[in-house]
Amino acid sequence: MGTSITTWDNVSAYFTFADNPLALMLFSLGVAGIVVGLIRFIMKHEKEAFENHK
């Protein structure tokens, strides 16, 4: 699952789901989600840490 080629002959852009724009868009959303999630995670950690030291 995931590969779009069966041979390396004349291969150009070869990477997972390279022939499926929808999948690539979802991966991009995943990247954005991880970055946003990191910042939200840090915000939550900060809130708890600051409350513990009131």
């Binding site: 852009a13 991009s28 954005a32 991880i34 970055v35 910042i39 513990n52």
Partner: protein, 453 residues
Amino acid sequence: MATETPTLESLQASLDAQQAIFNMHQAMNVEVFYWWCTAIMVMIHAGFLAYEMGASRSKNALAAGVKNILALAVIIPTFYLFGWWIYNAFPGGIIPAEAASALPWSQSMGPDVQDMGTGIFWAAFALFGATTGSIMSGAVIERIRVSAFLILTVILGSGVWILAGAWGWHPDGWMLTELGYHDVGASGVVHAIAGFFTLGVLINLGPRVGKFINGVPQQIRAHNLPMTLIGLMMIIFGFFGFLGGCIIFNGGETGWTTIYNNPTNLSAFAFNTLMGFAGGVIGCYIATRDPFWTMSGGLVGIISVAAGLDLYDPGLAFIIATCVSFIAVGAAKLLEKKGIDDAVGAVAVHGVTGVVAVILVGVFAGGTPNVGGNPAISLYGQTVCAIVMAVLGFVPGYFVSYLLKKFNMLRVPENVEVLGLDEVEILTHPYPETVPAKSSAPTNVGDLEAKGA
């Protein structure tokens, strides 16, 4: 044994094969060059890490380091998501042009085995973006929330600077095509942008607790000045990757050009990078005799000549760097007098120096022709572009940090700042054994005997 007489066709086929091999090797050389430029640029971040950890008080040393590491980690994916697209879509101004191949779901934004350029150029630009984001990092240490810093650094490192890059550092950028802008080493598009963005943030962030007593600025000492000095030297090392990445390695008959397509080479860059570095160190030493500023002078010197790195006489570069050092030191003092707490002088070192550097190209290289029918370099064009850079940096920095401040998301609470971020947020200490070791260390023979030694 009979040998086959070569025909014109067979000779042509052999020549074509040789040419194809040569072209492939040229493309590989381009890849190799930017690969190593990118690797060397990582040293800038190692330098910023050491620089800021040393410049912090020990209670905030690890928080400063973690902030730096995360900045690098968030700028790279966000530059992948939208930074590269901004560079390709906005050279004309604020209306985006077609740049679908730079969108993250494009096939060219992946391991395309036929494309030996996109990935490696993207990598170099991503590291330029990370450097830009990290410039703000040192100025805001010891009181900014990590979450707020990451939001700001993404906006700066993956958004604002690359918009400036599209305008002034792209072969079709409107600053070049309409005003003849010249900024080969990114004094404006990286340093002025980052410095003035930082100024906007600092205005809203406010000074560290204890920095000003009754309006009088106090010296908050770095807890490890030697680490800071080494960090600065590592940044200088990384600058060679940065400035190398500012040159276009075309290969073939064209050889090296600047990003504006005029001819240059690494040899030209080498003269002025080193002469600028030396002049900056000397100028800042004379102006302050302070170790921190003496080493920061190396940055000031390189940034002050970076915009015209391909054009200056080395002696002129040295003199410019020395003189601009006095301006940078003066600007830092002025900002402090105005109540701005810039812990590492980033606004002066990067912002003020960057703007001055752009204008000086108009002074010392005005009239130099551009290629491709673009206007010649002029003092007017450079001055207008320098103002654009300062405004483009300042406005988003100020307004985004203003919004974060309004929602109480910008700064850590005062009691946390007093306790130190390592204690509260990082939950570990940079030098955990220092205090007990010191308090239990025997100080005289009596102590030693009492401890059974």
